[in-house]
Symmetry: C2
Subunit: 366 residues, 2 copies
């Protein structure tokens, strides 16, 4: 049996904090494939199933894996990327390279940057998203807020991701009322706002809830892949009957990125992996907001959202997490125009309609 | 509106590495609920939706949340437990207390410790599990190994979790062949081995694959909740038509626990959360194996697998990850008899049948 060419293999670069990174690398290439004493495996399995150490450069080790070990799709790819290795302290995935033959099995985002520019008739400007808050408000109250935001000209109005099936605004009631009120607002004000409910629903209801929301008039969907699983995102993205833009929320995913010496690099998780799984828009906490991401980490997400990835579309980075009105120019200068700006609570300080309008005007000018 | 009694609220204790833990706690109680400027929320929402800081003791802060914020079930509970907070460095969940009213909505493990003792006719001894390896072997070869392990008297023979739909042993072919061969082995040797396929399958096939595996003769299932989502585990556990024991694998979950100052304590994730989600047996890497868990962390898992949790059954801790034959007595002394010992690769060093038999004899003597 001949070995595959390096370019036909999946390549993962790890940064390994250890006195001897090569020893850890040797463990990883076995751990992520055969999970079996290397010396006891038949020679062809040692050569053609176990990963190959391609290079060791200080702490940085590149291991390549044959595509066949990921047989089964996204789930097993994620398992090879970060399954058992996730249990090792001091190991971080800092780069991946995916061969065309591997990438061809993924459709990626249905809309991506180009598709949403067409959908929102926004050939150049950033997209503008906001969230319905706070939890505790009734469906009617949240719908009232949505109407104001639609009137102001926002592109996308999403549920706060934590709006699930609480008694104050139960899921089905909320989605129906808000979807209808946003459509009425669009008709009345000549706007094109899209309502995006949160798919914070039990696993057995996920697909039905997505279709039901579309039937009720939702124009996009918020997915929580850290909770529902990244492969369920792919399932929603690949659903030709559904065919709605999907925005991903980072809930429950933070521990994968925030420890500098452990986890997966920000760009790989919130860019590459989200695109593989079909996210049109990937939310992450912007630098200088309520969370901890640095400028460099945010840049890495921006780049990975747009970097070549076979024929998989570019996704919209969506920096959020405590953005304020006075930072919008800075954000556009930092991210460029291919950005889905996400501003929530700060719009409510003062007059909501006036704040929202002023933001829309500022962004429309770009 | 009156506030709920403390005992009626969900209580989460965080260890916060920060010069002023109270400031972070104030952010968390808002972040995990309304995600909205506190001062802009109506007073009743400030009091009855936002979490309450119950105590601050050095780095340890206890916050309580009303049950209603978790409306929607396990997914939204996990979101309250670790959704946005996962993006904060220096925060770790070190304790949770769940009120009866909250716990009543979860069925937990269908079998648990008592149920599997009955199923395996093992009133006192530990259970004995092993994994079919290495990836690269054909379905026939893996089935041959399974027959040997059944003959030796193992209780459960699982797929290696990374066995998905690789060309060497495609999922459907593998599950059918191994399930049949294990049943034949049981008939021939008078044993009662259960074959447990890995549900490493695409999201849209998860439930069907589980039922199909049962129809083909699988007697238990291996679930990867870090990849398929914890709520899909609950769905499988609650499925009365399926009604099979479920073992969970820690793949992709490691980053939630391995950084001492960030994440969720080992016992809460691999004990409490897995039981809420319905795991009968929870795998984790034992201390002194290929991974990094300490003795204390393993003890915390053991304790959380058995601690009172409403009427939710105790689960079996299943230490694995590089266990060897000569450690079995030590493991039983450490974990007690309510443990599902998991030994894989080490059985293959020398004669598989002889090693497996010697292990079964040692454990049966307990």
């Amino acid at each position: 049996m001949t070995l595959a060419e390096a370019s036909e293999r999946i390549s993962i670069t790890y940064r390994i904090k250890h006195p001897d990174p090569g020893v850890v690398a040797d463990a990883i290439r076995t751990e992520q494939t055969i999970e079996f004493p290397f010396d006891l495996a038949p020679q062809w399995i040692q050569e053609s199933v176990v990963g190959h150490i391609e290079s060791i450069d200080g702490e940085e080790v590149r291991i390549s894996y044959p595509i066949d070990v990921t047989g089964g799709g996204l789930l097993q790819f994620l398992n090879v990327l970060w399954g058992n290795v996730s249990l090792l302290p001091g190991v971080r995935v800092i780069d991946i390279a995916l061969p065309m033959e591997f990438l061809r099995q993924f459709k990626g985002p249905r809309f991506g940057v180009t598709g949403l520019r067409t959908l929102f008739d926004a050939p150049h400007r950033p997209l503008l998203c906001t969230a319905l808050k706070p939890m505790g408000k009734s469906s009617d109250e949240l719908a009232g807020t949505a109407v104001t935001l639609a009137q102001a000209g926002f592109d996308m109005i999403k549920d706060d991701h934590g709006l699930a099936n609480q008694p104050w605004a139960p899921w089905a009631e909320r989605v129906q009322i808000i979807a209808r009120r946003v459509q009425e607002a669009n008709a009345r004000f000549g706007t094109h706002a899209v309502y995006m409910p949160s798919l914070n629903v039990p696993a057995d209801q996920l697909i039905d809830a997505a279709h039901q929301a579309k039937e009720w008039g939702a124009g996009a969907l918020l997915v929580l892949p850290g909770l529902t699983g990244l492969d369920s995102l792919r399932l929603l993205a690949d659903d030709d009957e559904l065919a709605l833009p999907l925005m991903t929320h980072p809930s429950f995913l933070g521990s994968l990125v925030v420890s500098p010496d452990q986890g997966i690099d920000h760009g790989i998780l919130f860019g590459t992996v989200m695109r593989l799984a079909g996210a049109d828009i990937s939310i992450f906490p912007n630098h200088g907001g309520r969370f901890s991401f640095s400028e460099d980490e945010c840049l890495s997400i921006k780049r990975s959202c747009a970097a070549p990835l076979g024929s998989i579309s570019a996704a919209w980075p969506s920096p959020g997490g405590g953005m304020t009105l006075d930072r919008m120019d800075e954000l556009i200068s930092f991210y460029g125009h291919d950005v889905a700006l996400l501003i929530g609570g700060a719009l409510h300080r003062g007059d909501l309609l006036a704040n929202a309008r002023s933001l829309v005007e500022r962004v429309s000018g770009n």
